[in-house]
Subunit: 256 residues, 4 copies
């Protein structure tokens, strides 16, 4: 069976969902349900991780979804590490989506601080899934540091531009020894399918679901897009060609 395995844990779904920016918890749950996801990320600084009655957390069925806390909002390694430790102290599993984004306008990840935080957190026993620019050399450093995945961005977060970093993502996939999860910028199921067709192991989507007038249906659409791309990758895609090639040969009775 075609399962996604991260840090020894296996998942049927290759679509992860973020929980930011939804208009309501109902909308968020609808998107999660529709998407068939098994991993949901939650911004640590937005929830009261200690409090089982936290308004967002109580909407997420922990038997069904792996809650992946993220360090969104951390501006350097120190802040990210602090957030991760707090989550573990509160009883979360030691998995963390590592985000270090010093720039408040584009929220792009910091390669230096991300690597630094990853090295610390791996040593402390965390399963680390770092969000990064589509930088193949950085991806290698992180894998050497022991991260469980690499999560290169397709385009700046929230832009809906799709896999604009295609050349670099292709190299990251070719060289990867852990799952590659394309994160950020995927605004439509076709974008998710494209990432999967390239051989990505999974994708993470948030904004596209949160801003849709119908998050449940959009979640279901992304589910199909991800599966479509994965299945096409496994079945084997054709090459791009410059010359046309007829679907039907040109001989035949018309010319006889």
């Amino acid at each position: 069976m075609d399962e996604l395995i991260i840090a020894g844990r296996s998942f049927k779904s290759r679509l992860m969902v973020g929980t930011g920016k939804f208009s309501s918890n109902t909308a968020m749950v609808a998107a999660m349900e529709g998407s068939g996801c098994e991993i949901v990320t939650v911004a640590l600084r937005r929830v009261d991780i200690d409090n089982p009655g936290d308004s967002m957390l109580k909407h997420i069925d922990r038997d069904k979804y792996l809650l992946l806390p993220n360090t969104s909002g951390a501006r350097d390694a120190e802040e990210a590490v602090r957030l991760a430790r707090l989550a573990r102290a509160a009883g979360c599993e030691p998995w963390v989506k590592l985000e270090v984004t010093p720039d408040p306008y584009y929220l792009l990840p910091d390669p230096i601080e991300t690597l630094k935080a990853a090295q610390i957190l791996v040593k402390e026993g965390f399963t680390v899934l770092p969000y990064i620019n589509a930088d193949p050399v950085l991806a290698k450093h992180l894998q050497e540091a022991g991260t469980a995945t690499v999560m290169p961005l397709g385009a700046p977060i929230g832009t809906n531009k799709g896999v604009r970093t295609r050349d670099s993502i292709a190299i990251i996939i070719e060289q990867a020894i852990v799952p590659v999860v394309v994160d950020a910028g995927l605004g439509a199921p076709s974008h998710a399918a494209e990432a999967m067709e390239m051989g990505a192991d999974a994708v993470l989507v948030n904004t596209a679901l949160a801003v849709s007038p119908n998050p449940g249906q959009m979640g279901a659409a992304f589910k199909k897009g991800v599966e479509a791309g994965r299945e096409a990758f496994l079945a084997g895609l054709g090459e791009r060609r410059d010359k046309a090639e007829a679907s039907s040969p040109l001989t035949g009775f018309l010319r006889d």
Copy 2:
């Protein structure tokens, strides 16, 4: 229910499949089955339409699939009209996918001869589905002539390049009064999804299935891609943005 209606006939599937270039009839049937298609195109000059024992035709279950004869190989209106009439005379339903491609290298459609043939065939009572370049003005002429769809190409046939004619397809869709079926050039499920997300009513795929080592699985992948794109279109997609927008707001305890 979200059905595709062509000339008063309704279809659940929005994926049409061509039957050229498959390595075997078994591979062809596998692709058809996997894709869930309800319409399959067959090149008139490749089959013996009079002969119920024709080796290809007998593999296609006529209760399950609408056989849409195409005029592939016709170099001008006269040849195309002749082929369509032969098919009807042989007992086919009077539906025809109109292809007029004088150029043997790129197999691009001829706007002049296609319109001429369409005008004749519509008058003769045919349901005409013309294959065209992504030309909005030609698409209008054909609709005024009474065609049942327009079928603009995404990229030259067999190139697997996807929706390279995006700007023109968008205009055709915006102005269409009949279903728009994107045909040719779609090499991956992400391409099919993209066309559907733009608001196309259906797509036609052939080469991508025929050249896949696993046509059945690729058919299934395209099925999901088409459905993903359609559902996303119905759910409402977000705009592309130039500035990032955080999935998680930037306030929070880290800064407190």
Copy 3:
């Protein structure tokens, strides 16, 4: 010497300029001067071609620029032919840029009416330069009808999107027996350079110059862009590659 030859007449410049939408005649002349163009198109319905004192025409030095009247605004072949005849009757040279654009929103050319008008005008002795969609088969029909060039669009007029019809333009160029002039949609010198690098014989620019705060400087920028692209085409461009190739070989004393 590398000259552009149209209908037996030779030109040093491969950049044609349109005269619409300028804020003033001074701005228009500045753009023409900056661009080094030798051919300028003028919309017949905007000028009083009989009147040597017409406010726009008197700004164009007829010894320096070939005035190429265009049939902009014509919605069918009949209107286009009528405009062309009026221009000749008024003493213009029998050159005409043929534009037939029934759609008032996107101003896309009509393949059917354009071919019809071209056939009539060629027979009447006009030198015909037709504006067309990037349709290789139509381009062939027009050349067979005796047009002096074909002028496929890069993108819908006024959009500044560049050579979005790249695949089709490449085929048109490959098959052409007359000069190919890429017209419409070129919004920046890089777009003009790209068209020339592909092997186009010339380009026509209007909106990009007319909307610039500095039309003279923008004209000069396009001049260099066109020359850059032409020279690179002649010098021979490299292929796109998927693997990196070091500019500097990897042996050397570092590894010794």
Copy 4:
């Protein structure tokens, strides 16, 4: 006058040229001459910097060109720093193009080691021009460390794919406090023009010149491409639009 100023030194040309991979020193000099460049990069490990009779160096007129030694081939900060020091010890000016590329296949730069080397070299008084992935956060770190430029890649070196990192380059330019030089992947003058139109301060080209059958002419073509893009940027480019806008207004006597 529109000059490029790097570390207080001013240049008229905004095109830098690399000296790798040329078929002969004659070809290299022809490209330099044609390009009008004032800065040429030389791989330190390929030349005998101590030896005034080195076969390559003696072809480069030091009164005309600033020789910018690069650390090409260095796999980590230590190797890069060592190379830079050797160059200075041999009497070179203390300018260095910093390249740290541990991966021998794609030659992509290492963000971690590049920053580390830059910090050391700046402290030692070098004028540092670092080659980097198109990573806006890394670019900021380098500028804070005191580098004289940042040199993000357009596409992996030697691929001729152009400005594929457009989104990130735009952010780097927007946030830069030092000149931004787009380096690597520029395979045609249109690519160089595009980078300049976006507001880049300069570009560096090597492979495209070295592999051309006519390096002198290709150098001249790039010179014009760079100037075209720069002038268009200064003159002010128009926005991309989705609707067509007629170059000629639609009123006129045809409709009267």
